[in-house]
């Protein structure tokens, strides 16, 4: 008996490929739904009185209605669109201030690099959600997307920093230094290889993290503001009555979970790994 026996590498790799492909297909479908949300939704955002109040799912109203008689299917589509639209810039913030800055910081003079790593390490010791709330408190509620991106950045910074340090110790770096290639040229080369290899998975990983953070921020009242409701705000609005009208919270929660799941699968994350 071997506790740590591993599956054959080929089968494990093919499963990983299948899961990643499924994740990207899912993200593609979500992108289509988001860009066509105004066309696909039967009712415009926040249109009240479409059906009876708190009507359960039926043939005509497939996701039911909420406390104002809004069509939950349309609202979920609009909410998903709002969530993705706020998560995309946040993902860019995470990539720029986390992955890119972390990689470049590792190649700065040693003392400066270690100081930066230490400072970011302190921020990484604070739960990302609380860090995002603090950033919003110090700026403004409209900055929720940026705050979510910045709160996910310390973890991305640390990962990129470690990878850059590994590459600095790799054989190709030693050859480059021995042949007189400058540090700046080597950094440019490593950056190109790093981002061509990992950009898609880093972006998907960041998208999963910021989608959770932006939704949780809205749920806690620090993110989206009415009338622009994202999925987190929809779930928060359903909190007073979802125990008796499950569909008001279940469908937005399901849409959010599917978005996060697709992003995690596309990133090739290990099961349960923190995004």
């Amino acid at each position: 008996m071997t506790l740590t026996a591993t599956a054959s590498p080929d089968r494990a790799h093919s499963l990983q490929t299948v899961l990643r492909t499924a994740g990207w297909i899912g993200l593609g479908l979500i992108a289509v739904a988001v860009s066509l949300s105004d066309f696909l939704a039967a009712a415009p955002a926040n249109a009240a009185g479409i059906g009876p109040l708190l009507a359960p799912p039926s043939e005509t109203l497939r996701f039911g209605t909420d406390i104002l008689g809004r069509d939950m299917l349309s609202e979920t589509l609009h909410g998903l669109s709002a969530t993705v639209r706020s998560a995309l810039p946040a993902t860019l913030v995470t990539l720029a201030t986390g992955a890119l800055f972390g990689f470049v910081a590792a190649r700065l003079p040693r003392a400066l690099a270690l100081s930066l790593h230490g400072v970011v390490g302190i921020l990484a010791a604070v739960p990302a959600l609380l860090l995002a709330i603090l950033i919003i408190g110090l700026s403004a509620r409209g900055w929720a997307g940026v705050a979510a991106g910045l709160s996910a950045a310390p973890l991305a910074f640390v990962r990129a920093f470690e990878r850059a340090r590994e590459q600095e110790r790799a054989a190709h770096s030693e050859y480059a230094r021995a042949t007189g290639i400058s540090a700046a040229t080597l950094l440019r080369r490593d950056l190109v290889y790093e981002f061509s290899d990992t950009l898609s998975s880093s972006a998907a990983r960041a998208l999963a993290a910021v989608a959770i953070t932006t939704s949780t921020l809205s749920f806690l009242g620090f993110g989206a503001e009415p009338p622009h409701r994202d999925l987190g705000l929809m779930i928060a609005a359903a909190k007073p009555y979802f125990l008796h009208a499950w569909w008001t919270a279940a469908f937005p929660a399901l849409a959010l979970t599917v978005l996060v799941l697709c992003a995690r699968l596309a990133a090739g994350l290990d099961e349960g790994e923190r995004a």
Binding site: L15, V119, I122, F219, R274
Partner: protein, 296 residues
């Protein structure tokens, strides 16, 4: 070993110093003149640091009491939630990590674990509340609008029911982090060259795993203790909000909303300190397990 612990302790001290500087910078914002310019802010920051050195963490602008008093009133609930959530995380996370840590079970469980861990904590908390209210007919304190305390050492079935949901929600978040740490450590241990060498020496598979494999996996899991603590603290913040409990994480959220920077700074300092301490303990114990002989 001693050298390692000394180095880690030095690192912890530096990190704590950084966290104190950050907390003082936030707390300085409570001073009226701190936003007048860079110099005014630096002056306020220095004053706050000086006060911190005297263990004076300022006054809450909401309650009028000391920030330390506010923290003392709210922190026990959060710490209790985290401690009991950690116990629940071990009960759920360790078997999941061990069962699905290797072999065909890992492949089979991968999509299911992905789906289960993709749900944000607030969604998981609401789902548990829905199941408890509708299937078990438990009272769920979601919508009474009044922040209340919570007995984490319940003496009656009603108290047990009240504590079960928040603890379970925090525990599930911790379990996701725990099982990941175990499976990551198991995968790392699987690639170690000593396994084949010990086999050549005539040791059975079970002996190798019992004597060398399990301690290695346990030690590898402990290295992630800081990550588990982060997951538990995040979950506690959401759970206190969802279930209306007046803990320190809930106080943090309300204090940011009301710009009560002295309380915000103190809670941030305590949470960062907890994560750093967990990381330090995890790393040191892991090192002791892997290197019991005390090689420097």
């Amino acid at each position: 070993m001693l050298r390692f612990v000394s180095r880690e302790a030095g690192r912890l001290a530096l990190q704590l110093l950084g966290a104190i500087l950050l907390a003082a910078a936030i707390s300085a914002l409570a001073q009226p003149r701190a936003r007048d310019g860079v110099l005014s802010f630096l002056f306020a920051w220095a004053q706050t640091l000086n006060a911190f050195a005297r263990l004076d963490f300022g006054t809450s602008s909401i309650s009028g009491g000391t920030a330390l008093g506010e923290l003392a009133a709210h922190l026990p609930l959060t710490l209790g939630l985290v401690a009991e959530g950690f116990a629940a995380a071990l009960i759920v996370g360790v078997p999941v990590g061990v069962l699905f840590g290797a072999g065909p079970a890992r492949r089979a469980a991968a999509p299911l674990v992905q789906i289960a861990s993709a749900a944000p904590i607030f969604c998981a908390g609401l789902a548990l509340a829905f199941l408890a209210a509708n299937l078990l007919h438990w009272p769920v304190p979601l919508n009474d609008g009044v922040k209340s305390g919570l007995s984490l050492l319940p003496a009656s079935p009603a108290g047990l029911r009240a504590a079960a949901l928040p603890v379970l929600t925090v525990g599930l978040a911790g379990a996701a982090a725990t099982q990941l740490a175990i499976r990551r450590a198991a995968a790392q241990a699987a690639g170690q060259p000593w396994r084949q060498q010990l086999r050549r020496m005539g040791l059975s598979g079970w002996d190798i795993e019992r004597t060398y494999g399990l301690p290695e996996i346990f030690a590898g899991s402990l290295v992630s203790l800081g990550e588990v603590m982060l997951a538990l603290l995040s979950a506690a913040a959401v759970v206190e909000w969802v279930f209306n409990y007046a803990g320190a994480a809930d106080l943090f959220v309300r204090s940011v909303a009301l710009r009560d920077w002295t309380v915000v700074a103190l809670i941030l300092l305590v949470f960062a300190g907890l994560t750093m301490a967990a990381d330090f303990i995890g790393r040191s114990v892991a090192r002791a397990l892997c290197d019991p002989g005390g090689t420097p």
